[in-house]
Amino acid sequence: MPCPHNMMILSVKNLSKAFGGVHAVDDCSFSVESGQITALIGPNGAGKTTAFNLISGLTESDGGTVVLDGVDLTNLSAHRRAKAGLSRTFQLVRLFKNLMIREHLYLATSENDDRFLASGFASDAGHLETKMQETLQLVGLDKPPSTLALELSYGQQKILDLARALAKPHKLLMLDEPVAGINPVLRDRFKTLLKQLKARGETILVIEHDMDFVRSVADQVIVMDQGRVLAEGEPEAVLSDKRVLEAYLGT
């Protein structure tokens, strides 16, 4: 899905969310450029995951707008936002534990399976299997497709989570800490994979704590602190910004 360069695919304006008295996301605005990898970073509690949940509609916002590829998502429910082209993973992997690898990817690719009349008596279209094979090969998950999610190791679960998000038709891929808690070998593989995905024209917004990872994959970095955007720009500039260092180190 190659897009013209320098086009903003996602635009977030004045997004806000308070839990009780805590402003988890506070008047937050940023945008994501098409065809690039944008990293969303910040200390724990900065509001990154809340921002993800507000964008994807899983958490209702107090205010602000979310526009994806010219379509205003602000008043859409979460599943409609997903149908409009958002695809995401979760910090704590959320798989369908009683379903097979194959079923995860078929679910991701199918579009009308929540409609009984369209799919209650239907069979799977042939392209689902092709798409599954392609995706599994791309992410390098070498387990039989009939393996249940609950039989996978943590690392394999992370890969399947990513594969599922990739197989879902999308314009923007949102990854919430894809390499958290996985071994260094797998971490390197994810690095390479993200670069490959970018080369294929994917636009990726990624939350990540691992600065090495961010430096090596991100084209743009957005730093959040206390619910606000503290800085944004290219990795080297942003990561040497004094305010950013202060936010991270607390000095």
Partner: protein
């Protein structure tokens, strides 16, 4: 003895439809409702009231007996959008109470606790063996239709809702629509089981559909296994056989009812403890 055997098999066939329907909600969709006995009651009473009081024909009354519980269950599932977990279980349990209370108090139509007798059925069903064939045929048809549904892309989406609702939403699945449709499917087949029961017994009263029946269905479904239609048939036949077998044990007639329920509850308890997937289920009871 042969007559008794035919009676047992017919009852097992009818209940198996109700258990399979229940499994679509609880096992395949993860919506653990406690409305199942009430749904059968709505089906049974819809059929009986329409044929006795309004003289509807067999086919139209049967059709209504499928539609009314389906709508009721669809509405209950829609409520699950806001009312979740334990609160949803209580809501559906309450539905069962409301249904039984309605049958008890709406005496003008239902004759209250006296029940309704002389429930009409097509003449060929007066032959008990033909009724058995009819019931088994409908159980087989229900199995085929439900198997097709749970194996379809729609059925897979139900499994996604069961295992992780948030992840299903993130894939663009309309979770409320999936839950409601699944509840409607359950309602249709629960209604069929209820109407068949009314036709078979020829007599129904409100207490037939109280919590005792609900507990039986939970037992049939859990012992057979969540997420398995075959398990629902197996669980129904085995546990109903156990219940019926106790009739032939020489026990104090005043205690036989309680002993039967204790044995039933013990089997259910052991299965939950040691085999949370039931005999051939796909999903663990949580």
């Amino acid at each position: 003895m042969e007559a008794y055997f035919i009676y047992f098999l017919t009852l097992a066939a009818i209940f198996a439809i109700g258990t399979m329907a229940y499994n679509v909600s609880a096992g395949y969709t993860g919506l653990f409702t406690l409305a199942q006995a009430g749904l059968l009651g709505v089906g049974a009473y819809t059929y009986a009231l329409l044929t006795i009081n309004l003289h509807w024909t067999f086919v139209t009354a049967l059709a209504a007996a499928l539609v009314v519980p389906a709508i009721a269950n669809g509405i209950l599932a829609y409520a699950s959008k806001k009312i979740r977990g334990d609160a949803f279980a209580i809501l559906t349990l309450w539905f069962g109470f409301v249904v039984v209370t309605l049958f008890l108090n709406w005496r003008g139509a239902t004759r209250g606790a006296l029940g309704l007798n002389g429930i009409p059925r097509p003449e060929f069903l007066d032959d008990t063996f033909l009724f058995l064939l009819f019931a088994v045929l409908l159980t087989a048809l229900s199995y085929i239709v439900l198997r097709r549904i749970v194996s379809s892309p729609f059925g897979r989406a139900l499994g996604a809702v069961r295992d992780d609702e948030v992840a299903a939403v993130a894939l663009g699945k309309d979770v409320t629509r999936l839950r409601v449709t699944s509840a409607v499917v359950n309602g249709v087949f629960a209604g069929l089981a209820g109407a068949l029961l009314a036709m078979f017994l020829g007599y129904i009263n409100p207490t037939l559909f109280d919590i005792t029946l609900l507990v039986q269905f939970i037992g049939y479904m859990v012992v057979g296994g969540l997420g398995s239609l075959e398990g629902s048939i197996l669980g129904t036949v085995l546990l109903l056989a156990v219940r019926e077998a106790i009739r032939f044990v020489p026990l104090d007639p005043e205690l036989v009812g309680a002993i039967r329920e204790i044995i039933f509850a013990s089997i259910l308890g052991l299965v939950i403890l040691y085999r949370p997937r039931g005999l051939i289920g796909k999903v663990e009871l949580e």
